[in-house]
Amino acid sequence: MDYQYKNGVFIYYLPKELDHYYADKLKRKSQSVFEDESINYLIFDFSNTVFMDSSGIGLITGRFRKIFDKGGKVYVVNVNPAIDKLLLLSGIYSIVKKKDTKEDIIKEMVKGGYYE
């Protein structure tokens, strides 16, 4: 499973290696959801990811732009130290929140008035 969309929540289950090849593939596969649905919460789940380059940053900022003007919030979760280093260096934490677990995100969603 590459992604999941339900009730305004979109989750990307990112691949083992998030490079240009896989970032483009993911973007193509999920394009229609971003066009047809309204996304309030966008979550990038890095549980399986051990490698990322700047293409991953491009994926996050590109998706961010699509949902930001409609008030969508973006999270990254289960980030390993190597990927954290890249995210820090790119300055992306100014637009994206990092959480340790998905439960932490759900807590914030409920606070924001989200019901499952």
Binding site: S54, S55, L89
Partner: protein, 155 residues
């Protein structure tokens, strides 16, 4: 003891080969006994350079249907003790303004969700970076890294 080693690998400029290219280099530098973090740094830098060649070097302006043109990328790497030198070469369109290309967040392809962080990451993850490029001829990215040297990190 003369502990030097060299390798060259040439492959087609296809996105599928990005993973292959960084794994080859990671395997080659294993002899320098790098930490996981150092391997990850080198892999990211190689991935950035190779991706740039594919997307920018070969992705624009050159018409693939024109004859006598084969989009290949060549990586040359050299080890001397724990010093790593990596060269990534393409015969692509070249970079008209290298200084501009190296600015963080600058990209000619924002619509394709490119971050513009490629050269910044190469600079951050390697000790030294040099770019030689001629428009219409191609680009060479040269990178150096000393393995096993503790660096000061900024937070």
């Amino acid at each position: 003891m003369n502990n030097t080693n060299e390798m060259t690998v040439t492959f087609k400029a296809k996105a599928q080969n990005e993973a292959f290219s960084r794994m080859v280099v990671a395997a080659f530098i294993a002899g320098t006994n790098p930490t996981l973090e150092e391997v990850s740094d080198v892999k990211t830098a190689v991935s950035e350079a190779v991706t740039n060649s594919i997307i920018h070097g070969y992705g624009v302006s050159k018409d693939v249907s024109e004859a006598s043109y084969e989009p290949y990328i060549t990586i040359y790497a050299q080890l001397s003790g724990r010093s790593v030198y990596i060269e990534i070469r393409d015969d692509g369109c070249g970079i008209p303004d290298i200084k501009k290309a190296m600015e963080p967040m600058y990209t000619t392809k924002p619509k394709e969700d490119r971050s513009g962080m490629g050269f910044s990451f190469m600079e951050a993850f390697m000790d030294k970076l040099e770019v030689d490029s001629t428009v219409g001829v191609g680009t060479v990215v040269k990178m150096w890294k000393e393995i096993g040297v503790v660096k000061h990190h900024f937070e």
